[in-house]
Subunit: 359 residues, 2 copies
Amino acid sequence: MQTLHVDLGERSYPIHIGRGLLNQPELILPHLKRKQVAIVTNTTVAPLYLEKLAQPLRDAGVKVIPIILPDGEAYKNSATLNLIYDALLENRCERSTTVIALGGGVIGDLTGYAAATYLRGVPFIQVPTTLLSQVDSSVGGKTGINHPLGKNMIGAFYQPQVVLADIDTLSTLPERELSAGLAEVIKYGLIRDEPFFAWQESNMQKLLALDTEAMSYAIYRSCENKAEVVAADERESGERALLNLGHTFGHAIENAMGYGVWLHGEAVAAGTMLAADLSRRLGWLSDDDIKRIVAIFTEARLPVHAPALGVERYLDLMGLDKKVVDGQIRLVLQQGIGKSLVSSEYDAQLLRETLAIAA
Amino acid sequence: MQTLHVDLGERSYPIHIGRGLLNQPELILPHLKRKQVAIVTNTTVAPLYLEKLAQPLRDAGVKVIPIILPDGEAYKNSATLNLIYDALLENRCERSTTVIALGGGVIGDLTGYAAATYLRGVPFIQVPTTLLSQVDSSVGGKTGINHPLGKNMIGAFYQPQVVLADIDTLSTLPERELSAGLAEVIKYGLIRDEPFFAWQESNMQKLLALDTEAMSYAIYRSCENKAEVVAADERESGERALLNLGHTFGHAIENAMGYGVWLHGEAVAAGTMLAADLSRRLGWLSDDDIKRIVAIFTEARLPVHAPALGVERYLDLMGLDKKVVDGQIRLVLQQGIGKSLVSSEYDAQLLRETLAIAA
């Protein structure tokens, strides 16, 4: 097991990465205020992993309240959030009750937001069971839900007490979701870590085969990259925006196609290609860089072509995005592999050209 | 105008107290990230004060988005919260848009919670228009909504950029609401400031008559007391719980009678009398102390008798309260006027006797 410490002053916490972590209650017990936890999970994850996590805790004398939600991005909304509140209240959970998220990004976001807002905040533990949530939602404290008018529009910054990233849970992950998680791994290389990107070029087949050593390294280094960015900018005013490479385009794609039709990582991959295309038009990325990016996404079985929504629809959907300042669309763009910047200083016509070739 | 500085490190902010503040946009302008605000208010306050606040801002070049909600505690729920989110999204409000709460405690709590959670947090300004909200919700950063199973069960700690407590707005406040606000003023004397309590005994008629000097002093000293407590304990783990004198009983009363039937301050007054009765049974308050408390509440036209709900119903309702640790009901009790403590170390039978005489 490896442990990464996310340094956020009094909100610091450890991320444990390895195999068999669900069955190690000693990683959780020191963080409990009292021996009572609510485990929030979904109908897909519950039959696979709920008892693996719950039984050792019960054996250690912890009262476990399971809260099982429907599965899917479509349920990341206020109605599902209310199911969590209702269950916590019906079980008279108090401020000393710890809420544990067991599942992927949707469960983590929903549960973290419920923990942030139930009784104005109760302790929270993350047990991410998808690669995407292990490398992305584990770090940064972003929680929230979707609104009919936009993704992640309602939420809070809220840090967990501890994160357990158990690689064993990836063995039941559908291939498509594994690839979607790799999109975020690739992102860290692209935005700030060229050596990591080069390592991925040599190790993508091992990652796809769930090789223990390679996967542990990829998760650790992804979280480390994200933690460095977040520690410097917890509330997303500056550098943290780089983590949104491909996301402004990606959110537009997810929104237009209907949440859950494209996986988040798939939309991010296609969105990253749009950002790369615009960066190339600005003269910041070479044709060779583009080839490397296309190659790695393709090897990771990710889409490199965004859907044809039309320029105006893209612009409209992007205008609702949170990364907008004074009506200008700020985008994360690249200046080579491993180097990125946030800019609204680009020729609007070039953005239209990029969007026009989508599809 | 007097200004009190609430010291919370990087979340510090000023409270301005005086007359004619709505018409002083220069108190707001320095706090705006961009010249766009959403003013959230209700159908009662809007005709009285919305334009008084909005027009000077518009004259200063600020775009004003009014959001007018139905009035009443019954609307402090997720449905009304969604009306705010919808309006912010429909107007494409961004992270640089400041949200202003113009109204009483319900508007302040709802709006503050919307500001805390919209796009994971946007800047927030409080313009409280009731005495209760001026002396209570102005300080402490508590925001939130009610749940069908309990009051203020969902929320966040979120600090404003600035608070404007304009005494002019009290001139349109119904007499009953003025008294409800005085319940919280009296509370500060009771829990930690005997000289302030004694001052109130001499000045209650001036306060009821809205004497400018007396009212400014009462608001300033109430906020000062609360700010001292909150600065020492922003997230309510210790001393801050003293601010809940009468509230555990009071919330039970509000809940049982239906939100809004008893005003919050009325329920707090009756709840404070229950806490005082239990304190007397414990030998911590003298009969003379009880007489002084009854006298000041009575002079302030507040109820001193709690409704007869029955002992079991009280205990059941109190068991859902946030101030519960490990199943024990912790209560704020008094050890003389101006001295209070939080305790679960009391004879449960004495609590039952106190509840049995309610009514």
